[in-house]
Assembly symmetry: C2
């Protein structure tokens, strides 16, 4: 196997010093003729500067790290897509890790990034503060996406405006005449849950804690929670699912229990996914701008993020399809 052409080869071929090559290639000053000679030689030899040498010298990889719970989930997938798009535009490589929402794994992955010399990371955090201590201590620039972590306030975040999104949804349901509205939440949905309660209260509907249930991040758990809700409280007429997995579970459970949507029960889901339109009836959703969240987070982290941990909130959109109707 032929060994890679290095800066030295180019320097020799162009009859200049390596520093000059480096300068020319990174847009430094050089006489027009020198520049041309260098460029010609580089092109001739098909030279590609090795990031290895540069990284070592700079003591850091240029790239950005991306930590998400699960590539396979539509929401995180879209966030990742946004990050990749932004990084690509900036010519930066992205190292991706899946945490499974497990703080231990998250911790290990952060360690791996540190080891790789990554110094900027975008993450949908698991929720624990602990894994992020070593990161910030090591001087990592991190930006949270889609969620933030209680107790880690020096990290900026790009979020969906969940409060307003959930409020809109609940108002919509109440406006349709519903009074016994259930809520199905999951990991990392504290914001949404709070908004749900607050909106109900603000509208003069007393919060029935029995109508609030939670599932863990598996399909089975979400299904069990949804099914339990429907069975224990057959009087509920509407349900807000706080995420796409939970919405999926709600649709399935409703069907299994022969509940007609939206006749028997109105369904609304936080997050828009391709299958929302394929459902029968198509699902009404609160759509968060997942891809934008990723893109903006990547922009922020590349810009060096602001030292002050402010949060950017991106608006959600209520997309009315066919899964909500007037109270039965």
């Amino acid at each position: 196997m032929r060994t890679r052409t290095t800066i030295k080869d180019v320097a020799e071929a162009a009859g200049v010093g390596v520093a000059t090559v480096s300068r020319v290639l990174s847009g430094g000053s050089a006489s027009p003729q020198t520049r041309e000679r260098v460029l010609a030689a580089a092109a001739q030899l098909d030279y590609r500067p090795s990031a290895l040498g540069r990284n070592l010298r700079r003591r850091s990889t240029g790239g950005i790290g991306l930590l998400i719970p699960d590539v396979t989930d539509s929401f995180y997938g879209r966030v990742a897509d946004g990050v990749l798009a932004c990084a690509r535009a900036a010519g930066e490589p992205v190292i991706v890790g899946a945490t499974g929402d497990d703080p231990e794994d998250e911790s290990e992955l952060i360690g791996m990034l540190l080891e790789q010399g990554v110094e900027r990371v975008v993450a949908v955090p698991s929720g624990e503060a602990e894994p992020w201590r070593p990161a910030t201590r090591a001087g990592l620039t991190v930006v949270f996406a889609g969620r933030r972590v209680a107790g880690v306030d020096d990290v900026p975040a790009v979020l969906a405006d969940e409060r307003s999104g959930v409020r809109t949804a609940v108002e919509y349901l109440i406006g349709l005449g519903h009074r016994r509205v259930a809520y199905l939440g999951g990991h990392g949905h504290g914001q949404r849950t709070a908004a749900f309660r607050d909106t109900l209260t603000a509208l003069g509907v007393t919060v029935d804690e029995e109508l609030i249930a939670f599932g863990r991040a598996t399909r089975d758990s979400a299904y069990a929670a949804a099914s339990g809700l429907f069975q224990h409280r057959p009087d509920l007429t509407a349900l807000v699912a706080a995420g796409n997995l939970l919405g999926e579970a709600a649709v399935l459970a409703a069907r299994e229990l022969d509940l007609r949507v939206p006749k028997d029960i109105s369904l609304i889901m936080f997050d828009d996914v391709p299958w929302a339109e394929l459902c029968a009836p198509p699902l009404t959703v609160i759509a968060p701008p997942a891809r934008d969240i990723g893109y903006r987070a990547a922009e922020l982290v590349l810009r060096g993020a602001s030292p002050r941990g402010r949060a950017v909130r991106l608006p959600t959109e209520l997309i009315v399809r066919g899964s909500c109707g007037p109270r039965r």
Copy 2:
């Protein structure tokens, strides 16, 4: 910001030379006491060897590159998940790029990986051979996943057994009494298309080219193709969609045209996705082991892949749900 602790710090703290530290940490020979001293010092200083130095020395990143058309697509997402899982088990970082199935982008991304010193890549290739020339020339170890590239035969591939999957599907449909079976294909589905034709022929059904249509990799294009098929040939009674995007389009188009599934038309899709169960009726599918494909491909590439470009074919599974019925 405190500067990272280096191997030199550990060496000093342990009162040994850097070479010894390096040896101990990579499991080389050392006297028990020296080993202990080094380990203690390393732990004490919370030392993490920098991949930067190691990479430069070794002239390569340990990690693996992953190139897929679109993180957002369920199939590729699952492939990516498999790759990430395997890489994580091996402690290797993964640099991910989205090609959008565009050979130009693919080419650039390959260049980026080369520049980063990545020497192993798993890819769902766009289909063009050209982007891969520089890669193999540079000595990259590459393994294709889910697809292969005509003319690039020195690259091993991990694939779904598409022929047998499609055959099973077509046989199933024919067994149900269907004779006018349509096929909706897309980019990179040559294998499936061929299997479709062959199976029909083998079963004594003449292939009606008008019943074979193709969409590009966008939702709009897929929808147009599906819709066109249904409208031009209202006599067709069954359709095989070669991928999840196409299946989605078929479901939507059928609904739009008021075709009842499976009464008016039987639908079967290559690829299993969460929404297949949510559909009404739930979609019958040929499920490829997407995650396994990714995992196996990563295993192969980490093992250094075989120089001989053999293909591993993983079996698909026919999952009968409710979208296929007897000919009307």
